[in-house]
Symmetry: C2
């Protein structure tokens, strides 16, 4: 774990920002480095980059990713796709099985608007619904088969992949063009992995073998799409992988730093919070809790064993030990000079779910200019 | 723990609702019973009820609570207060220390609009800022002193309460009218309590003794405000307590049912989700994860030891074991008949933080009518 947490470029400037807290501040320069860095990984490995925009949920940032080389974007929800299409994104992969008539009709509506749309499918029932509704509208939907590579969530089991691919290929109005998976930092036995190289390699090799089997059965699929922020680099190195879909890298976060994927100083997004109470020498209360910091990556959970709900920049003794809805309990050194009214800067454990809690972010440019940007797809769960 | 989970009144109707999932559905009849029930508790104990509206964040529901007898409302944030004032609420307690100029000015703006506003204070520094800014505007702010009664977050320590009260009373433009605390289901040693009667009694007795000491020092404070959903009934029974501030009771949730405060069938809010994948006989994936179900009340945490991230109504073998951002992993009996496309109804572990993740709720009336209502103060963290 790299523990570099030099204050960000924004640290000096934030006193002048006069922002109401708690709020999210993005260092534009760090973000740009992150965007270019992952574009470079994809280019050097000869794969396309299709970032998952669930991390930021902001169309203008998605456009910056495509300008910097991404071939298109990935989303999880039709509602996210709609927001992104409204924001000018025109090549969207909804990497989630759509199985209800209502959602499929909304997706078809996007395709009819001219968006190049790719849909995920992982069940016979889902495939039939897609086929039937696409048929009603007289269009053909591009689909990719999702395969489980060890995470144990959506995705057909490996052994059933070729069989389901054959059924999908036989359906009218569907064009099966690829396979995809999401494994993340998970090893072959399903346990969380610190050995990201092995996790990425396993992910890539499995999907390449699935694609080969499907092609050998006479279905000429092209796309083999894999990867998360921690594993993309390694999975992309497997011959036959064609696309990576990392998300978190745009900002990075404390979890990624703990995995060794970045340093804390690469983290482009920080939560600014204010000390509102100092009830004891060893306790400082900030104005944000579980409605400000996501709690899905809990302290002390294996394998990262993070201390607290975020990294407090520049206060080595401070730990965000507990959160209630609107209060954050910072344990501090007894001689801490943090006073009521002071501001602290915290790198969240998990940035994706943290951004989703906020209506807006403040993007701070290198020249000191700030721009308030709405998180347009926040809360788009449908 | 009462485990009654008869399907809600909405269960029969939901197939007809044709709602996109995941979404929140409120049974209006149950909610009304909950609202009247707590109003009855307050009336029978001779205390006022000032519900915390952070649970629903919806002005029309806050108005229903005041129509049913609540004397006013409680919020945690100035931004919540602004939304509620815009929605017609005119008696608001911001039970959170405001310490920055920006926030205090916004609060003063509310008072100048004619809202009866009460502010929390728990530090000398915060009190001086309030006094100074109120003085600039030529108004007097009503304040209550927050005292820590065992939760270990904001609130002056018991031993320092009377001293700080004296300092506050000496400041211009502040009118100290009471004391308040939030203890919740916490015992004297700071551990989570199942013995709610003891927790409530300790909370009430401590605050009554604080108020007595302050009055004995010559400050004629009136309000002694306490209570959470699990402890309100017991704290209100302590002679000298004047007000309770429960929040969750409006909907109740799985955590409250596990505490024995309500039954599962009292829970008025449920998450509707769709099975999107059935990769294994013992696994069903729903279309909602940590961006749909709050993760601040984790499974297996003491003392409740809840199984999973919510109670799956009507499927006794189903447990929402794991969540990622947009996926929920339901372990199910191998002979479960849940199929891709089916809908499930889930009572969240913690309803307050769950509502905050959603843009809207659907309120289902007893006559079958439904109304979509915006969660107007969602994400109002500032």
């Amino acid at each position: 774990m790299r523990t570099d947490d030099r204050p960000s470029a924004l640290a000096g400037a934030r006193a002048d920002l006069n922002l109401d807290t708690p709020t999210l501040v993005i260092d534009a320069q760090k973000m740009e480095q992150n965007i270019l860095g992952m574009a470079g990984v994809a280019e050097s490995r000869g794969v396309t980059l299709r970032p998952h925009v669930k991390t930021h949920k902001i169309p203008s940032l998605a456009r910056r990713q495509t300008e910097a080389g991404a071939a298109g974007i990935t989303v999880a929800k039709v509602s996210e796709a709609e927001v992104m299409a409204d924001g000018g994104l025109d090549d969207i992969f909804i990497a989630f099985p759509l199985v209800t008539e209502r959602k499929i009709r909304r997706a078809i509506g996007l395709a009819q608007r001219g968006v190049r749309l790719i849909l995920g499918v992982d069940s016979r029932r889902g495939a039939h619904r897609l086929s039937s509704l696409a048929g009603e509208e007289g269009i053909t939907l591009e689909v990719r088969l999702e395969v489980d590579s060890g995470l144990g969530r959506t995705g057909v089991p490996r052994a059933e992949a070729a069989g389901l691919a054959r059924e999908i290929s036989a359906l009218e109005n569907l064009d099966l063009t690829g396979v995809y998976t999401y494994r993340g930092a998970v090893l072959g036995d399903g346990s969380p992995a610190i050995d990201l190289e092995e996790a990425g390699r396993l992910e890539g090799e499995l999907m390449v073998s699935v694609a080969r089997e499907i092609r050998d059965s006479g279905m000429p699929i092209e796309d083999v799409s894999v990867g998360s922020t921690p594993t993309s680099k390694h999975a992309a190195g497997v011959d036959g992988v064609t696309e990576i879909r990392p998300g978190t890298y745009v900002f990075y976060d404390r979890m990624q730093a703990a995995l060794g994927v970045c340093s804390l100083s690469d983290c482009a997004l920080r939560v600014l919070a204010t000390i509102v109470s100092r009830p004891r020498p060893d306790l400082a209360i900030i104005d944000g809790g579980s409605k400000t910091f996501a709690t899905d990556v809990q302290p002390k959970a294996a394998p990262l064993n993070l201390a607290g709900f975020g990294h407090v920049v520049g206060h080595s003794g401070a730990v965000l030990q507990r959160v209630t809805e609107e209060h954050g309990m910072l344990s501090v050194d007894e001689d801490s000079d943090l006073r009521v009214g002071d501001t602290v800067e915290i790198i969240p454990n998990h940035v994706c779910s943290t951004v989703n809690l906020h209506a807006e972010v403040h993007v701070l440019a290198a020249d000191g200019g700030t721009e308030k940007v709405r998180v347009a797809a926040r809360g788009m769960v449908k």
